[in-house]
Symmetry: C2
Subunit: 245 residues, 2 copies
Amino acid sequence: MLRQSDPREINPQGEGLVKGVAVDPVIFGFHENQLKILIVEHTDTGLYALPGGYIQETEDVDDAAKRILAMRTGLSDVYLQQFHVFGKYNRNNPDVIKTILLGQGFQPTDDHWSLKRFISIGYYALVDYTKTKLTLDPTTGSCEWYTLENLPPLILDHRIIIEKALATLRSNLDQLLIAFNLLPAMFTMAELHTLYETILGKKLLNTNFQRKMLSLGILERIEKKKTGKAHKSPYLYSFRSSEPE
Amino acid sequence: MLRQSDPREINPQGEGLVKGVAVDPVIFGFHENQLKILIVEHTDTGLYALPGGYIQETEDVDDAAKRILAMRTGLSDVYLQQFHVFGKYNRNNPDVIKTILLGQGFQPTDDHWSLKRFISIGYYALVDYTKTKLTLDPTTGSCEWYTLENLPPLILDHRIIIEKALATLRSNLDQLLIAFNLLPAMFTMAELHTLYETILGKKLLNTNFQRKMLSLGILERIEKKKTGKAHKSPYLYSFRSSEPE
């Protein structure tokens, strides 16, 4: 695993950073019908968290999310979507943040900016996790993929952020499949079915699934391949380039 | 129109407010097949804007949006949805904000907090505009409904915020109809059709519309009313309480 020193990420004085607002990306890794989530451990604390970061004063919020994602995974040009603001006035926990800063060798004063109220802007990304190059910065002791079932306890409201990201991902699935580019240009109904089951985390009846998918009007059926055994090969489908009325 | 003095809303020193983050609600007024948007004019400036506001230090972001909506419209308990964060680092315009503050009789210094970078959290609401009691606070000279076609030029990126809210509203329409409670418990396909056309702002073919609505699986068909002319009365529908598989 790479270890990189990004001065923007270990900056206890917060120079040049927007105060009071953080970006927390939920990075879903998808590969061979498994869905995992990227989690960091803050150095020498045993505290697990989303791989979040701060916004620079002269940086758009969306660009901050892209930078943080690229810094952690080595990936740019992946689908990254802002999905919700977490704005409870008491969602920060000064004791937890103090522990994290102490783990980095920094002793904050009680009025330190990072101990005050923080609004978190949630993003989610869906990446092929075999393509990522996970990177540690000086603030994190580990950076690993976890399945939903095996998530460690997380700081603050990070578990809630993940649940909300997952709910958004699931509810937008039909529209997102194209954007995420999770399937080849042509695919079978069985492949689509497996993808849905993996992300929704439950079994779907074959017959209902096919009927629902076809009724959405987003699929185009392509002629069967000429294999000499045409009656046995399944139909191939592709996504229509735009949704019909 | 009411005029109310809310000390939280005319507070040039920003005491007790979160700095650098605002809430901008896009309030859609819906009545008799018309869709309108609530716009304020800042006192003595000729500058038009969304009826936004600030977040108090000990107030959740969602509660700030509710408070601002209630303060402007007299309505609570309406559907209010966070939809996007507007985070371009240079989206604020100090000259515009200075003009607005001067209109309120306040001369800001060049390093005044309200002239610095501001992140806006966008919300949208959909209300029956005959039920609203529009209220002016000391910072606004007018507060009026405008159709989309007749919107005045707006400050900063407020026009973009409206466009994004409208796009979100349209794309979520199927799921939102229930939440918005825009229809009676039972309705005809023709009533549903008119509602869609109004919000989408375009004509939809009758036959396609009915087929699409039925395929979504969210409608339940109810027996025709016994009118003595059953063959002429249209079917009534209601929304299913939850979506099927």
